[in-house]
């Protein structure tokens, strides 16, 4: 599992960890029931606060991405297809939001956007 922490990005560290682990789970890098490093060893390896890594794990558990077995540690939860679909849609929404923002900024009309989408779909099929 790859985890990179950017101290200067302004994004809270627990959030960075949460997102990266979530992505790894959703795209299959971390398979179902794969063990995760303990909260403490993760914190110490990344040289961050234990409270931070605990928070990231708590959020993951809250949203159903991982589960914790007492005295055994944390594991990737069995894949929830709903969640995967939601995640994929979320990613698309992000990109769409950016497209819309640019369109408004440059004065591109809805019709022109549709044209561009059709072109892209044609080219890639």
């Amino acid at each position: 599992m790859h985890l990179f922490i950017d101290n200067r990005s302004g994004v809270p560290i627990y959030d960075q960890i949460y997102r990266q682990i979530r992505t790894a789970i959703l795209d299959g890098t971390l398979p179902e029931n794969a063990p995760l490093p303990s909260i403490r060893s993760l914190a110490k390896d990344l040289q961050i606060s234990v409270i931070t890594s605990k928070r990231a794990y708590e959020k993951l558990e809250e949203e159903g991405f991982i589960y914790t077995a007492p005295a055994r540690g944390s594991f990737v939860a069995p894949k929830n297809t709903e969640l995967v679909k939601e995640e994929n849609l979320r990613k698309m929404e992000e990109h769409i939001a950016e497209v819309v923002r640019l369109a408004k900024m440059y004065g591109v009309s809805r019709a022109e956007i549709d044209e561009m989408i059709d072109l892209e779909l044609e080219e890639t099929t």
């Binding site: 809270p12 110490k44 606060s49």
Partner: protein, 281 residues
């Protein structure tokens, strides 16, 4: 159990007063004690280790009051002062021989491992050591008797970034065991920013804050605004401001300001400076 529990500690000196300090360090955590020179960090540590007696208040280390049988509790406490305390004439071998008799749980093997890791010469006199080497020896001594609590007073002063990084790594390794805790005082905030779980700000003998580090980042933010915007802010939300002549930088409590605001990033150093300076520019 808490590694450190300080209750209403006060100590008066000529011209300086450590005033009603209460803080708690839970087991397995790292606390950074930040303060300017003369804020009272060293005084607090001296009080913790029993080198000085407080005027009022109580101190508990590893669950034991530090006035009772403290020399037994000290077996489990590792201490690093910024002057290592070793006589200049001694060498590392002799230090090992002395520490063997001081600490019941002195682990010679572990000590030599650290000595090798730090590349410290075994037979050379301590006075030939550089500042970094002296500090490393102090740390090796503190980490080689299976201590449960490590207290470090300005250990990274005058050390280059490589050595400082090594010290940080060592602290992380030390606290992998969840029964081991660290209190480290420094005025070099960047060292503490990454690894600390708890942060305490000490300024002119007053404890400004003692909090989980993450919560500090959530609770406080920096706003860049104009004078009018500043005037519009609720006064109870303002911690401090800085007039740059091109605008105002204001540190606020996020929860107390309403509406959408664009907070810029804040780090501990800025936080400390704002809190210490208060409303003054």
């Amino acid at each position: 159990m808490n590694a450190i529990k300080i209750n209403h500690l006060s100590k008066q000196y000529d011209g300086f007063r450590l005033d009603n300090v209460s803080l708690t360090l839970p087991n397995g955590m790292i606390m950074g004690l930040i303060g300017e020179n003369g804020a009272g960090k060293s005084t607090l540590i001296r009080l913790l280790m029993g080198l000085t007696k407080p005027d009022s208040g109580t101190i508990q280390l590893l669950g034991q009051d530090n006035r009772e049988n403290f020399h037994i509790t000290k077996q489990d406490i590792g201490i690093v002062f910024d002057e290592t305390g070793i006589s200049p004439e001694l060498n590392v071998r002799q230090v090992n021989s002395i520490m063997k008799d001081v600490y019941e749980k002195w682990d010679e093997k572990q000590f030599w491992e650290y000595v090798r890791k730090f590349d410290l010469p075994e037979k050379k006199r301590f006075k030939t050591f550089s500042r970094g080497m002296k500090m490393k020896l102090g740390i090796a001594m503190a980490l080689s008797h299976h201590a449960k609590l490590l207290i470090m007073d300005e250990p990274t002063n005058g050390l280059d970034p490589l050595v400082r990084d090594e010290v940080i790594r060592l602290l992380c390794d030390f606290t992998r065991d969840e029964s081991c805790s660290v209190l480290i005082s420094s005025h070099i905030v960047s060292d503490l920013e990454k690894i600390c779980d708890y942060i305490a700000f000490l300024h002119k003998g007053q404890l400004l804050i003692s909090e989980e580090k993450d919560r500090l980042y959530e609770e406080y933010g920096i706003l860049q605004c104009t004078a009018e915007e500043y005037a519009a802010l609720p006064p109870e939300s303002i911690i401090g401001k800085n007039d740059t002549h091109y605008g105002l930088e204001v540190m606020v409590k996020r929860s107390a300001v309403s509406g959408e605001h664009n907070f810029s990033s804040i780090d501990l150093e800025k936080m400390f400076v704002f809190m210490a300076r208060g409303e003054k520019t």
